[in-house]
Every structure is written in C-alpha cells, then in structure tokens.
Subunit: 308 residues, 4 copies
C-alpha cells in the first residue's frame, strides 16, 4: 500500500469528571455517536464518517485529561514490527501489550510512553461498524445527525517537556513527517506531525510538565460548519475558548471550546493537503500569535495556560 505503517489516530481516551454531562456533550453538542459502554463504565463514541467501532473513549476520574492516544496501523505484522522498533529505539518507557478486548471491539494494543510523558498505543484491529450508510449506493450523509456532527476524529495537540525525544520517536520510528514547526531560535517549541495527507495527525508543544493534554480535534466539512458549531456553542452554553478563526499553522478554520470537565475540544475544517516531501514550514516563536491564531495575531491567555 502507498499509505502504510501508522495510518491514523485511532482513538483518544479521555478522563471526565461527570459522565452524564460528558455523554451529553460528546453525544448531543459535539455530535458523536455513542457505540458502546463497557463493564468498567467507559463510554465509546465515534464520529459519523468513521468506519471503526470507536475513536473516543471516556472514563470517569477525579481530574480531566488524556489517558492515552491510540494509532491504527495497517496490519498485525506492522504492529509487531513497530512494537519492536519502538522498543529498540530506546525512546519509549512503560511498554506493554494490552490484550484484545480490553477496549470493546479492539484488538491487541502495544502501549508505551513517549519522552513528553504521553501514553501512546498502536493497534491493528478494530471492528468495523460502518458510517451509517450502506456500502452499496450510499447517500453522501446519513439522516439523524446531531450537534456539530464532525466527520472524523482528526488529531490531538499535547504539551510536554522532552519535545525532541517525542518528535524523534514519531519521525524516526513511526515514520511521521514534520509538516510545521515553531522555533525559538534554535529550540523547537512546537511540532506538527503527519502520517498521512492531512496537515497534522499529532502536535506537540514544549512545556515544563510531562504528559499534559491541550485538545483533541474533530474535522468538519467546511467553514459554514464552523459557524454552525459556533452557534451551537452559544445555544448550548458551552464554554468557548476562541473562534471562529483561522490557524496560521496548517491554515485550518477552527473553533475551540471545553467539555464540561475542562478538556479542550476543537472542530475545524480546511487546511492543505500535505506530502512527506513538502518542505517543513517554520514559524518563529516571536510570531507565535499569527502562527496559532492567524486573524487575532496574538494568543489568548487560555490557549497557553489551560491544559488538562
């Protein structure tokens, strides 16, 4: 295959303080589709145009944040190979295999912690449940969508200390491309990495603490959907961070908001089609405002400081 190895962000596991409020938010406001609940009380969601069983897993905890992020690889053989490569790289810690079925409808997962302190997983198998339309003569979208109704879980942005280490692992071991970077002189403080044609599949920002979560992001069809999402945020009294606006980095059209537990969500549209041979785009740290929020050209206070 021309698209091989790590294919995409497969799931994000989030901690929420109040599951009922979270289910209402992710189901009715963000507009994901609930696909299951397990014996541990975890609730599973997918965006409507995803074919796999789930892309978001929520569990109740006493503080918000991200437990881990899972990556779909192209085959069991690749899973075994990449697990060996991760181990051999010396860049990961706390490596272990999670048995198939620990998450509903998901195969065996190889879990490890990257240098910025984030827990990542690789997996090759997850049951297909379809996108709500038949595989023969489908319509372009299904009936009954609710809320913002993004088509897919797209990426996460996370904060941590050893940015160089995590970037090295994603580039050299997992085969990601550095689409864009933010540089403070010679020091990389932001890295936007892709394993696909998308402008980013994961992004890291350098930060004093390990393992912090900035946001998980879901993709919409277009800018008119960003307006609709913005309207829904106000109609439903959701806490807004910033937007609608455009990112300088990736050019995405975006809006940020918070789930009831304080985890930041993004919905966005647009951005360019990326290829591994595209030269890396660099943003100077002194121009970080324009890089992040192209129209405002300055960061709002929440963006840098509210992380979970």
């Amino acid at each position: 295959m021309a698209l091989t190895g790590v294919l995409r962000p497969g799931h994000v596991a989030l901690r929420v303080l109040d599951m009922d409020a979270a289910v209402n938010h992710y189901g009715n406001v963000l507009g994901l589709i609930e696909t299951g609940r397990d014996a541990q009380g975890r609730v599973y969601f997918k965006a409507w145009d995803e074919h796999d069983h789930h892309s978001v897993v929520l569990r109740t905890a006493d503080r918000p944040g991200m437990d881990y992020m899972g990556w779909r690889v192209d085959s069991v053989a690749t899973l075994k190979k990449l697990a060996q490569d991760v181990e051999a790289s010396g860049l990961a810690t706390d490596m272990k295999w999670i048995a198939a079925g620990e998450q509903l409808h998901c195969g065996e997962r190889f879990r490890f912690t990257v240098p910025t302190g984030h827990v990542m997983e690789l997996f090759a198998e997850k049951d297909k449940v379809g996108n709500g339309m038949p595989y023969v003569n489908p319509d372009p979208w299904p009936d009954g969508l609710k809320g913002m109704a993004p088509t897919r879980f797209d990426h996460c942005l996370v904060y941590g200390d050893d940015l160089d280490g995590s970037v090295k692992l994603f580039r050299e071991v997992l085969g990601f491309t550095l689409a864009e970077q933010v540089m403070a002189g010679e020091l990389m403080i932001g890295a936007f990495l892709t394993c696909s044609n998308k402008a980013h599949d994961i992004a890291f920002i350098r930060h004093g603490e390990k393992g912090k979560f900035h946001h998980c992001s879901f993709i919409l069809d277009g800018w008119s959907d960003v307006l609709r999402a913005a309207d829904i945020i106000s109609k439903k009294d959701v806490s807004l961070d910033i937007g609608p606006t455009r990112h300088g980095i990736t050019r995405g059209e975006t809006i940020y908001f918070f789930d009831p537990s304080g985890n930041r969500n993004e919905v966005f549209s647009g951005g360019y089609i990326s290829y591994p041979d595209k030269p890396t785009i660099t943003w100077k740290a002194e121009d970080i405002g324009k890089a992040i929020f192209y129209h405002d050209r300055k960061l709002n206070e929440a963006f840098l400081n509210v992380i979970t």
Copy 2:
C-alpha cells in the same frame, strides 16, 4: 514514512490544438501558474499550492487527449524497486526510462503502458519551486491568483478496455486501494483508486477503445469556490459539461468543462478522507446516474461519450 511508495499524481501531459488558446485557458481561466516553456514548445504549469515545478504539461498536436500521467514516488530507491515490480508483473508494455531533464526540472522517469492503453510514468525527483509563499511565517494564500485558482492537480479519470488489468497493476504492484467501484453484475466497469487519504488519485472506466482520456481534475478549497468557478465558466464563455453538482462516488462537489481543444477539466471540492482499510464502496451500474451525478441522478450525454 507512513505515506510511502507512490505519493501522488505528479503530472499530466495533455495535447492541445492551439497553444495560445490553451495557455489562456489553463493560465487565466483555470488559473494555474505557468512555470516554464521548453525547446520543444511545451508549456509547463502548476497549481498554486503545489511545491513541485509543474503538474500540467501541454504540447501542440493535431488531436487532443492525454499523452501520459506521471506519479511522484518517495525516493529513487522506490523508483527503481517499483520499475522492477512493474516489469516483473507482466502487466505493462512499452517500458522505458526517460532521461532526467527531458521534462524541465524533472528527474529520470520510468514509463510504461498499462492494460487500458494509458501511458504512465513514475519519477522520484522534481525541483521544488514553492507555493508562492515563504517557508517561514507564511500567509494562508498568496496574492495575485487568477481564475478558478485550484490548489492542486488532483486526479485523472481515463477510459479503456482492460479495466481488470489496469486495476490489478495499480492495486497489486503500485499499492493503490480500491476506494469505490461500479459493478455491472459481476463485471467491474468503474474503479476509483487511491494511493493516499484522498478518495481517488486515478479512476478508470471500462470502454471499448484503449487509452482514452475523460478528464483531469483540480481541487478547490470549498463549495463556494465551485460557484465562483461556475461563474467564471460563463463569464469567459467556456464550454460547460455539467455542474455545479455533487458526485455520489467520492461525494465531491464538482463542475466539468472543456478546454479550447476539447479536453475535459474538472474542479471540485470536498469528498471524504479515505484509508486503505475502508471497505470498498460499490455502485450498481443500473444506478450509475446517481453514482456520477448525485443530484441529477442521470448521466448527461456528453459525460459518457465525449472523451479525447
């Protein structure tokens, strides 16, 4: 890399009857950027957000159509490997190497004819000329764009006889995925193939003659750009085929029109994000109307019969 092997459609070489009219069409109406002319009189164009030197090459001839389509692969090593694989497959004919520099700013190309009679090329090197913006702190789009101003050359759709052979070569040798297919009972009459996250990078329709060209397609940012393209078509008295409308296949929002030589162009936006593990979508031949033109639910006469 996670995106490996064949990366993307790199160029399409078209025959035009009148170069001045063609240059006006591709430059001012479609809105590509002219990047060079060579000693043979060929004219080179790129879409603004492409970084490589060119993606469209025009030459004057006495009949319109496509000479060949070129595919950018990830490295010289891959180029050598895929050339061997193509040769070993027994599916290609007329194989040869074209020297670096035969096209301006393009490295060595491996050329072969696929079972439907279309000439394809693989290449690993083409000079980067950038997208009109700096690689440090770029704006989201450059000034001075003209016409429809698509961001990229996206794909071609071609007609030929041995559909099964070409599909086998693209899937099994070049690693493409069959995103969607049109089936007349057990007979595949349409194949939409991708080497990326895009819903298609090339498409084949079964047809009595070998080596026919249906259209080359360029991608726009969104549906409002499709309307603008439609307006430009009428303002500039360009021959319209059909649109604005939506495809059932790939969900793309589209408009078709003809260059002054009779070659069909498409500009489109939207469509889903595809992965190799997405189940192939099937359209029944008896529902081909809805598959091609989702709103009209019938083919216009030109779509099936006007090919070059």
Copy 3:
C-alpha cells in the same frame, strides 16, 4: 414608514392531489412548519423565520396549480385605499372581499384577478405566531428544524397572456418596481417585480394561457444550504428540475424541484439588494438561457413547459 404599502408576499394557496404526500413534502422535505388545519381540510404552513401564522395554504384538488397569492399591506387603511385603486384602475376583474377568518388567523382580504389571469389578494392582518424564538435575547436559529428549512416564502413566478396588463397593475397601482425584464425586441416577455429590497417579489412570463403557475420560491441563508437542499432532494427521491445553479436574472443561487403533485418549488439564496431607483436590467430573449440559468446558458425543456 419607509417600507410602505404592499410589504411582501404573504401567502400562496396551492392545489395538491394527495394531501398526505403534500404534507410530507412541505413539512419534512422542504421543511416548513405546519401551523394549522381548517374545517375545509386546508393545511397551513409557515417558514421558520416568518412571524405570521402562515405563508403556504394547501388544499386537495384534482389538478395542481396556484389558487391565489396574497400580499401583506402595511395597514387596514392602506388595504382600503389599494382596493379602491385596484378597482379604479380598470385592470382587475372578479374583485371581492373575503371575510376575516375564511383563512385561519387572517383578516379581511381583497381579492381580484390580474390581466394574466392570476388571482391576487391584499390583506392587512394576520396573527403573529413568532419564529420559534423569544423576542427577548433570541438565538439566531431555533432547534428542531427539518428538511431544507428555508427562512421565508419569497416570491412566485407565474405565466400568463396579458403580461403588459399585469405589469402595469403591479407597477402603477401597487407601487412595485421593475427590477429586471426580458425583451423579445420591443415585446416584454418576462418581468421581475419588487415591492421591497429583494430583487423580486413576483415575476411574470408571457405565455399563451391565462393563470398558469411556474413556481413558488423560498429563501435559504446561503449557497451551502443550496447544496444541502440538493442532497435532500436526492436522499428523499424528490423530482429535480434543475440545479444547483445560478440565475443570471437576480443572481440568485438556486435549485428547482417538484412537489408530489407536480407543482414546482424553488429554494435559493443570494441575489442583490434592490432599490426603486436601480435602472431596470434587460435581458434579450435570444439570451434567455443565460438569463435564467447562468451556468448552463440554455433552458432545460422542463423549465419552459412544465407549468401547473
């Protein structure tokens, strides 16, 4: 008031063959809101952002078409004055007063037939039921909308013989402005008339028969809603006439389709802001294709011939 006299198209009364099918179409597909049924079996609808009780009235009959169109005037005094003016003009026939309450929640109506054979009404009072949102701190749109969900009934286009007579009556007696016209040499064959800032509130096409109905039109917020309407048309197997496309006349972005009884509906967006001092725009009959369907630049057969 600066907007005085005849304010807007207030209602259109349509004949349908099968009320259940019609209620499904106007309620679930077009997405109007049913506001009442009367003792005669008539069913009343409004578009969501209208404040009056209804703008569409359906009755069962053995042939489709328009019974009449009603115009909201600014006051009872204006109603009396205009009724006298219509009578004095000698341009109308079959004049009579319809008692308040004959339509649910509607005041007294002055009914008359214009020279093209269409029945028109003036009325000054209709109960306000609101737009589904409070008059204090309203959100921009209500929850629970269905189908295409246009914001308002916008205009009708009708066919009839004595175009000059109807145009004279609307301009000279009712105070409308001729925004655009289609001329076959010296003969006016199309007239687009406005009583407001909208590019048209009613349009007439010259035609051999009296009293024919071409379409009633409803306005959407934008071009992305036209695409969504087009998708709904195919998802719900509604008969499409043409679109999405743009009109040359008024510049509106449009799609036409048929209700189950064969009455044509339009939903559209855009168009310019019109004022009475804007010079009348003229389209030559020989260029009628571009005037009506700006992109196709030719009429489809249905457009001219299918009227009810």
Copy 4:
C-alpha cells in the same frame, strides 16, 4: 412605490489623518472603487454593486471620525416634505441646505443635527455611474475587484447622549422601524433602526458624549467572504478589532477592523429580512455580550471604548 421616503444610507463622510494611507485602505484593502476627487481634496468611493456615484467621502483632518451621514430619499418632493417635517419636529438643530454640486455628482442636500449630536443629510439626486456591468445581459460580478470587495455600504453605528431624541426623530419623522433594542431596565441604551428590508440601516448606542462614531459597515455576499476578509486583514497588517464572529443582534456574520486613522470598519454578511410589522426584538443590557458578539458572549474592551 412600496419602498418610499428614505430609501437607504447614501453616503458617509469620514475624517482621516493621512489621505494616502486612507486611499490605500479603502481602495485596496476594503476594496471600494475610487470614483472621484474634488477641489477640496476629498476622495470619493463606492462599493462595486452600488449604482450611485459614491457612498464614502474622505477628507483629511487632524482627528478621525464621521462628519455626517447622508440618506437617499425617493424624490425631490419627498426631500422637500421631509425637510419640512424635520424642521417641524423640533428634534433637529443646525438645519441648512447644501447646494447641489458641493459633493461631486450629488444634488441638493438638507443637513441637520440629530439629538445625539450626529449630522445627517437627506438628498434625492446623485448621478448614476453603474455597477461596472452593463444593464443588458450583465454577468453576476465584474472583473478586477480588489480586497474584500463588499457589494454595498450598509449602515453606521453611532454613539451619543440623547438616544431617545434621535430614535424618535428617525421613527416618527423619517419613518424608520425599530428592529431591535437593548434595554437597561426601562432605559433604552441601543437602537437598531431600519428603513428597508435590511435588519438595520443605522444604529445608536447611548453614550455620555455627543456625536461619536463607532463604525461604518459594508455588506458581503456570505460567510466565506468574511473569512477572506479576515485573511486580508492579517495579510495586509490591518488592525483587527474582533471577528470573524456572529452578532446576536441582527444575526449578522461579521468582522471589525480599523482604518489607518482609527475609524472602525465592519464587513458582514447575513442577517434576516426585516419588515416593519416584525415585533421589536429586545436584548437585556445584562446580556449585552451575547447581543453584540453571540459566540464570545462578552464584549471586548475595544468595542465599547474605541470610538472616533
């Protein structure tokens, strides 16, 4: 005519500190069309889809702000009548007639000061220069547009002390409708007034000082144009106030920015179609954030305090 009396905002006369910078801003960034310069050094602009000679007049001064706003009325007879009515109302001061020709291509103007201290004018005649397209078979938009390219000057928002007096004058003498209001208990602190189908043609905010200018606004075709305007603001290093966002009041989709002299401009799209019988919408002063910026639900500091 059904649209009578005061038809529209006809011009706004602004003071700028540096004419060259202003001409670049209004011409190349905002994208108005320069239509003339007079002996006093004033520079005249129109938006492309206006037919009158100008809608913006700039003069050099040592402080920014609005000199006056002019209203186009339907006829000379109406001009005379309204001038008498204004005089008879006792609500205006500093009344005088300005001779035809004092502004290029503009007829006689009746000038007066309203209770909030703003200078207003009525006029009935201004030369038509067209919208850049023929009146026979026009295309939907002209070539050669620059910058944001709004279609029309739409409205102004001004700040002043005697809100009740100005509102009374516009409603009772000039025939405007109060579309929306902001109420601090029983005190009206904001009034949005229309003389047309547009949701507002002028707005007043109660403020301690007389005669202050908040912004002049220009209308775009849609939300995708608001994004494009936002991009242009950053590309051209224009000072942004806020946006893209939506207003609660009028529902408009908007972005605010400053000209080089510090005068605030708005470009916006959308908003509802208003009629004089629509019940007035009320916003509570304690919810002013949501009323002004529906998504942020709070005012930014600049919005209330930066006036010229």
